[in-house]
C-alpha cells in the first residue's frame, strides 16, 4: 500500500559497525509519519539519534533496515540521480555548521542548488536574490562566508535551502551555533516559511526552541519516546 503521508518512516534501524564489538544502534525501530505543512520539532539529548533520523529523512543517509517513503516513493529504491533530484527539489536542508562553500560568495552559494536544478542566467540570479531578500541579506550577496557573522552565514544557508522553493525544510540545530538573538531571528524566518505552507522539521536539544513547534517528537537512545502536539508535551 502506498502511503499518502508526506513522510512515512516504518521500523527504521540505523546500526553502525553491525556485528562488531563497538556496534552502535543510532536508531532502533523508529516509525514516524509527518504530514504536509506540519511544523515538527524533533528533540533529544546529544547522541540520542535525532541527527541520524534527520539525515535519513533528508536523504543524506540511508537506513540499515526499514522503509522510508517520501511523498509515496520508497527512498531505498532510488538511483543516485533520483536521490539528487529529491535533495535538490523536495528538501531544503539547513545544517548546524552552515556548510557553505567558502570559495563562493553568498549569492553563488544560494545559486548552487538552482544550478543543479538546471536554472540558468538571470532567472537563477533573480531566484537567489529573492531567497536572500527573504532572510534579509540581499545587500550582502557578494560577500564570502568568511566575511560574515555566524548568524548571517546561517541565513545564507537558509536562503540556499529555500531558493528552490522546496516544500520541506529540514533544519538540524539551526540555532546551535548562534547567540540567542540571532537564533531567534532564524526561528522567525522558519515560522514565516511555515506560514507560507512549507513543511518544517526542526531538530533541537533546546526545549524553548522546541516549544515554538506545533508537534513535538522526543527521541532518546534511538527510539521515539514521545510524539504529541505541543500542548500535550512535557517540556
Amino acid at each position: 500500500m502506498i502511503s499518502m503521508k508526506l513522510i512515512d518512516v516504518k521500523h527504521v534501524w540505523k546500526i553502525y559497525n553491525e556485528g562488531y564489538e563497538n556496534e552502535v544502534r543510532a536508531l532502533a525501530d523508529v516509525s514516524l509519519e509527518i504530514d504536509r505543512k506540519e511544523f515538527v520539532a524533533i528533540i533529544g539529548q546529544s547522541g540520542s539519534g535525532k541527527s541520524t533520523l534527520m539525515n535519513i529523512l533528508g536523504c543524506l543517509d540511508v537506513p540499515t533496515y526499514g522503509d522510508y517513503h517520501l511523498d509515496g516513493h520508497l527512498v531505498s529504491e532510488m538511483s543516485d540521480a533520483q536521490l539528487s533530484k529529491i535533495r535538490n527539489r523536495e528538501v531544503g536542508f539547513i545544517f548546524q555548521g552552515f556548510n557553505l562553500i567558502p570559495a563562493l560568495t553568498a549569492l553563488e552559494n544560494v545559486e548552487l542548488p538552482l544550478t543543479y536544478q538546471g536554472v540558468f542566467g538571470s532567472r537563477r540570479r533573480e531566484m537567489a536574490l529573492e531567497a536572500l531578500e527573504k532572510v534579509g541579506l540581499a545587500e550582502r550577496c557578494n560577500h564570502k562566508p568568511s566575511e560574515m557573522s555566524g548568524g548571517q552565514q546561517q541565513r545564507v544557508a537558509i536562503a540556499r535551502a529555500i531558493s528552490t522553493r522546496a516544500p520541506i525544510i529540514m533544519a538540524d540545530e539551526p540555532t546551535g551555533a548562534l547567540d540567542s538573538k540571532t537564533g531567534k531571528h532564524v526561528l522567525e524566518i522558519l515560522h514565516g516559511l511555515h506560514d507560507e505552507g512549507t513543511t518544517i522539521i526542526l531538530i533541537t536539544h533546546d526545549n524553548k526552541i522546541a516549544a515554538t513547534a506545533e508537534r513535538i517528537v522526543r527521541i532518546s537512545d534511538g527510539q521515539i519516546i514521545q510524539d504529541c502536539p505541543r500542548e500535550e508535551a512535557e517540556l
Binding site: 533530484k85 535533495r87 562553500i101 548552487l112 544550478t115
Partner: protein, 397 residues
Amino acid sequence: MNITQSFKMAIKSITDNKARSILTMLGIIIGVAAVIIMVSVVQGANQWSKEYYEKQGTNKVTVNAYPYNGKDITEDLYNYCLGLSEYVAGVTPNGSVYTDIKYKTKSTDNMEYGGPSTYLGSDQYSLCNNFTLAKGRDISQLDVKKENQVIVLGARVAEYLFGVSEPVGQKVTVGGVSFTVVGVYKAKDPDSDWSMDNMAVVPYTCGRLLGQNSASTNFTVKATGREEANKAVTMITGFLSGLIPTGTGDYWVQSENQWQEMDEQYTQQMSLVVGGIAGISLLVGGIGIMNIMLVTVTERTHEIGIRKAIGGSRRSIIMQFLIEAAVVCCCGGFIGVVIGYLGTVVAGKLTLDMLIFPSVGMTVGAVGFSVLLGIIFGMYPAIKASGLQPVEALRAD
C-alpha cells in the same frame, strides 16, 4: 546540469582556488619543460655528431700497407678496388705533406690557425673525403698518370690566398714547386677554426716533387654503404694477404665507421641517462601534482558532501572535477611546452651553437603523461567522495 555549466563551475573553482591551481600547474610545467629541454639537447648532440661524421665522409675504410721491399702498391690497390664497384665507390692514397703554399707574396705559413695539409691523392680523393667542387675541375686520372702539376684548393686556403679574385688558372708554389690551380672545393666546415677546408690536393704521383720519396702506405677506401664497408674490409684484407705474403710486410684494414659507431653508442647511452633523469623529473612533477591533489581531498570531500546534499548528482560532480583537472593540467602542459621550446632553443645555442627543436612525439609524450596524472589525481576525490552518502562526505573535516 549541462557541459557548459560544468565548465563554468570548473573554471570558477580554478580561479577561486588560485594557490592550488598554480601549484598543480607548476608540477606539470616543471616536469614537461625539464623533459623537453633535456631530451632535446641530447638529441641535438646526436645530430651534431652525425653531421660531423657526414661532413668527414661516412663509410670510409682505412688501409695501411707496408711491404718491406718498399714496393708501391697504389696502382694495384686502385685497380683491385675498381673491380669491387659493388662495395667500393672510390679509393685514394691519403698521404700528406705540411708545407707552405704561396701565391705571389702571400704564404699559408702566416695563417692564423696554421697552414693547410696538402694531400697526395688520386682522382677519387674528393669522393672519398666528401669534398665537392665549387669551381674549376677536380684532379683527373690523366693528371695522376702524367704527373701534372695541378692543385685543387680547399675553401679556407683559396679564401686566404686569393680573397675575392679568381684562383682557377693561377699558379701557386707548394714547398717551392709550382702548381696550377685547377679547382676549388666547396666549404663544408666554415665555422670551426681547425677547419676541414684548410687543405689542398695534388696528384699523388707528384709526391716526389714535394719530398715524398717513398711510396704511399696509407689509403682511404670509400665504401658504398655501412654493410659494404665491412665486406670491403674483408675483401681488401684478402687481397693484401696475396699481395704481401706473411713475412714480407705489414698491413691492416679498418672501417672508420667504428668511430662513428662508438660515438653513436656513447650518445645513445647519454640519451638513456638523460632520459632517465628527465623521467625522474617528470615523476617528481607528477608526485607534486599528486600531493597537492591529495592534500586537498579532505577539503574537497567536504565540498562534495555539500554539493551532494543540495542536489548535485554524482555525474555532475565528477564532470566538474574532470573538467577542472583537465583545464588546469592542459594549461600547465601548454606553459611547460612553451618554456620547454624556449629553453631548448637557448640551451641548443649555448651548448652546441645549433638551432634545435624538440621532437613532436616526445613533447606529446611528456604532456600526455603529466596531464593524465593530473586528471587522474584531480578526479580522485570526486570519484571517491561522490559515491559516499552526503553525510559521510560531510563528516570529512
